[in-house]
């Protein structure tokens, strides 16, 4: 018997209309766990580097986390993996909600889509019965609207639906996949779904998910649940509100937005709006939120309600979470009322709440600076709010300038030319980033921005405080009950980290220490992404309920294979390296691994080089960021090593660069 997982994937060939239920190899589960790990293995095996995002041979994989559907609190994530049209690298965006557990109960760990459907279709997975159904009547419908219509026509109110809106249908490079309460938004995976001609996947499941050692597993689940309750009553002092409590993060519940509104360079700006958060703004936003928010809502089997249902007057209800609350509002320099109103349309269209407002602000900057002209924006309203609505419609419909903007700031700037490049200033690996512009280089964040392959800082940071605590006694108090650290040395790192003086940014943490810290933070995220754990209860947070010491026990008792901290870390390193290898094979090199030029004002080229060199070495990668043959061997990834050697990316028996690969290749 298979435990925690079902042992079956659903393989759907959309070109031929073929559906197969395929048994998976349990040895892959031990090596790559599940979710992101096994998704990466499939992508490596089946999508060679010459296949682009919109090729029929590209795969779109909906993978559930290994522990989804079990009693583990907050373990409900779907990891969607494909090739991104925007970055041309591997995309692995994720969503919470209810879809992953439902798919497990239907009897599958993953849905793997290949080919392209000639007509718009949706998939209906009802336990053993799987159908490809006509979706021509859903063409152009909103993502939330689509889910409702499908549940109604199937007479299945309990079905869980993942759907795309018009943005996905029109292959907007930052189109999302929406699932009511949640969305998988980064990397343009909604565009791939639209390209495959799939409007939605509806799932209903009524079968069992088994765990190997039930009593032991439940005890672990209770420990976590009790700790969550304890943390609710004991927020962490001295950090900003969203970091003090658990959640992913709790933007719907927390009202005080001084920190975020004033410390981010919203839209496409380079400056922060100090003094924005006045009492007047605070009162107005509170009133708007109280009127709009009908209820705080959770994902499957999680008591932390990070989302909310939002009802704006005269508009259909939708559900919101996290930063979409702020991104449109702040980019348009408007108020929350506007932000919640445009987010309704954006959610139905199915677009990423990070990239979209940034692209729109970028377009308006180009207009202000004469790179684009009023002719490019026929009949555009005068006011900011009106312009944002106008641009959203143009982008999603790919009309006029919207067709160019729909590819994101990197590609739009290239196409527009005429100096537009300078305005696409906030990208890493061609993908729009959180709009932060800071002063002093932070060595930990430098490494995370450079080497992150999830393309989003929030998906790699966590565990370790974002900044030093000014007072020693506060640091001492913080480390006292910090049992989540993999090793006590991390406590010392934090104790020694000071706001000013010798032990402060950028020279402390030292490159060696920064490597330890970054590796720990990244590892915990990769573990979550394989198990389907929400980062809001785990890797994103300081002192979370799930950590390196209890997760191996969950795996042993839940999935039934022997696991300990070392073995778990090794497994995470294995598929993390596989993700890197996929991207290396697609052209990713050291030159791509850099934060936006203007991310920090104070930069230190020599130190930055040392940081990256040290980190690459720490990870077992050569100076180009390519995993070496020896490190691949150590991880049992000899087949990757052989492939990279065959392609001339690595040279056999040499742990440095091959000659061919050292020639700088332009990938764009």
């Amino acid at each position: 018997m298979r435990y925690a997982e079902t042992g079956f994937n659903l393989e759907i060939d959309l070109s031929r209309g073929n559906i197969e239920r395929v048994a998976t190899d349990p040895r892959d589960t031990e090596l790559y766990l599940g979710g992101l790990g096994t998704n990466a293995k499939i992508l490596w095996d089946r999508v060679p580097p010459d296949i682009d995002a919109f090729s029929p041979e590209n795969l779109l994989i909906f993978g559930t986390g290994l522990l989804c559907g079990t009693a583990a609190t907050g373990c409900n994530r779907t990891i969607v993996t494909t090739i991104s049209p925007q970055t041309k690298l591997m995309a692995f965006s994720m969503m919470g909600g209810y879809w992953a557990p439902e798919l497990k109960y239907a009897g599958y760990d993953k849905v793997i889509l290949r080919g392209k459907s000639p007509d718009l279709v949706y998939l209906w997975i009802n336990n053993d019965k799987v159908e490809i159904r006509d979706a021509s009547h859903l063409q152009g419908k909103g993502a939330i609207e689509t889910a409702e219509l499908i549940k109604k026509e199937l007479k299945q109110p309990k079905a869980q639906v993942s759907a795309i809106g018009l943005a996905g249908e029109n292959r907007v490079f930052y189109a999302s996949i929406e699932q009511g309460r949640s969305s998988a938004s980064r990397g343009g995976i909604g565009a791939v779904m639209g390209d495959k001609g799939v409007k939605a996947i509806a799932v209903r499941g009524t079968q069992d998910i088994n765990v190997a050692r039930p009593a032991e597993y439940m005890e672990l689940c209770y420990e976590v649940l009790d700790y969550i309750k304890w943390r609710e009553d004991n927020p962490i002092p001295g950090v900003i509100p969203i970091l003090a409590i658990l959640g992913s993060p709790q933007e719907m519940a927390i009202h005080n937005e001084q920190w975020h509104t004033e410390n981010f360079s919203w839209g496409n700006a380079r400056l922060r709006r100090k003094g924005f958060w006045t009492e007047e703004v605070s009162d107005e936003w509170l009133e708007t939120m109280n009127k709009a928010r009908t209820r705080l809502i959770s994902c499957y089997n999680c008591p932390v309600a990070c989302g909310a249902s939002i009802s704006m007057p005269g508009l259909p209800t939708y559900m919101m979470k996290c930063f979409t609350k702020l991104t449109y509002t702040m980019a348009a320099m408007s108020n929350l009322d506007f932000g919640l109103t445009i987010a309704q349309r954006a959610t139905e269209y199915g677009v990423d709440g990070y990239s979209t407002p940034q692209v729109m602000a970028f377009a308006l900057e180009l207009l202000e600076n004469g790179i684009l002209t009023h002719k490019d924006f026929p009949e555009m309203p005068e006011d900011n709010e009106g312009r944002f609505f106008y641009l959203l419609d143009k982008i999603v419909n790919r009309e006029g300038i919207g067709d160019i903007l729909a590819n994101g700031t990197h590609w739009a700037a290239k196409e527009i030319g005429n100096g537009a490049d300078a305005y696409a200033h906030n990208n890493i690996k061609k993908h729009e980033q959180l709009p932060l512009k800071l002063s002093m280089l932070n060595p930990i964040y430098f490494l995370m921005y450079c080497t992150g392959e999830k393309m989003n800082i929030t998906q790699i940071e966590g565990q370790f405080p974002q900044a030093p605590f000014p007072k020693k006694e506060h640091r001492e108090k913080f480390v006292k009950d910090w049992f989540q650290v993999p090793d006590d040395k991390f406590k010392q790192y934090f104790l020694d980290w000071e706001l000013r003086g010798e032990n402060s940014n950028p020279y402390y943490p030292t490159p060696e220490i920064a490597c330890d810290i970054v590796d720990w933070q990244e590892r915990m995220h990769y573990i979550d992404d394989a198990l389907g754990m929400c980062a809001g209860l785990s890797s994103f947070h300081l002192k979370p309920p799930y950590h390196i010491h209890n997760i191996p026990k969950f795996l042993s008792a839940g999935a039934g294979f022997d696991m300990d901290e070392d073995k778990l870390s090794q497994a995470a390193k294995r598929y993390r390296t596989l993700v890197r290898a996929i991207n290396i094979r697609r052209g990713l090199r050291r030159k791509d691994e850099k934060p936006p030029e203007d991310h920090w004002k104070k930069r230190f080229p020599e130190l930055e080089k040392e940081l990256l060199d040290t980190y690459y070495n720490y990870k077992g990668w050569n100076e180009e960021g390519i995993p070496t043959e020896a490190s691949l061997h150590e991880l049992g990834l000899d087949f990757v090593g052989q492939d990279l050697i065959q392609r001339g990316i690595l040279t056999a028996g040499e742990d440095t660069l091959s000659k061919e690969a050292s020639e700088v290749k332009e990938t764009n």
């Binding site: 559907g69 079990t70 009693a71 609190t73 209810y98 557990p101 109960y105 939330i144 409702e148 109110p157 009511g180 309460r181 499941g205 009524t206 079968q207 069992d208 998910i209 088994n210 765990v211 039930p214 009593a215 597993y217 439940m218 649940l225 969550i228 309750k229 609710e232 009908t294 209820r295 705080l296 809502i297 959770s298 994902c299 499957y300 089997n301 999680c302 008591p303 309600a305 249902s309 259909p316 209800t317 939708y318 559900m319």
Partner: protein, 180 residues
């Protein structure tokens, strides 16, 4: 038979639909507790509690499995509370032919909440950390006599309708059935 008053413990689960976040941890833990062996599997479709959930209409109704019924109701109720319309049968506890709730997914056998016998409190309550589900226990005094009276009132009405002979025949037939 004595008229002495008897004491019994009445357990009530208080359901506050305003506090429900719709996470369905109650369904999850219920299915795990009632799995064989205990906690060996999860499957909300086997749960004896269901959250009737329709987020876009802000409908969240945790409802418990009650008695099995062979026939569906002739007329059904639809409630509107504070402008929110609830599906027909939303508040009904019955395992009944008109809907899929509260039936074992494989066998179709009816499910019924047993308040997690043997546990200090029903586990759905324990897992509902937002207190949408809270258990309350109270002692009630009941007179045994009452039941007898109820029975006699019922029988009398049946006798009025069908005649005493038919009732006696039916009782005889039923008791024979029990012997077999």
């Amino acid at each position: 038979m004595s008229d002495a008053k008897q004491k019994k413990i009445v357990k009530t689960i208080k359901i506050d639909v305003d506090k429900c976040h719709g996470c369905r941890a109650c369904e999850m833990i219920c299915s795990a507790f009632h799995a064989e062996p205990k906690y060996s599997s999860n499957n909300p479709a086997r749960a004896r509690i269901r959250v009737i959930r329709d987020p876009l209409r802000d409908v969240y109704v945790p409802v418990y499995a009650g008695e099995y019924t062979v026939a569906e109701c002739a007329g059904r109720d639809k409630y509107t509370i504070e402008g929110k319309e609830y599906d027909e049968c939303a508040f009904c506890r019955a395992s009944c032919p008109s809907r899929e709730e509260f039936k074992e997914p494989d066998s179709g056998l009816p499910l019924k909440c047993d308040m997690c016998e043997g546990e200090e409190e029903p586990l759905c309550v324990k897992w509902c950390t937002v207190d949408a589900l809270v258990v309350e226990e109270r002692e009630e005094e009941v007179e045994e006599q009452v039941e007898q009276e109820d029975l006699e009132v019922g029988l009398e009405s049946l006798a009025d309708k069908y005649g005493m002979d038919k009732i006696l025949d039916a009782v005889a037939r039923l008791s024979k059935k029990d012997e077999v």
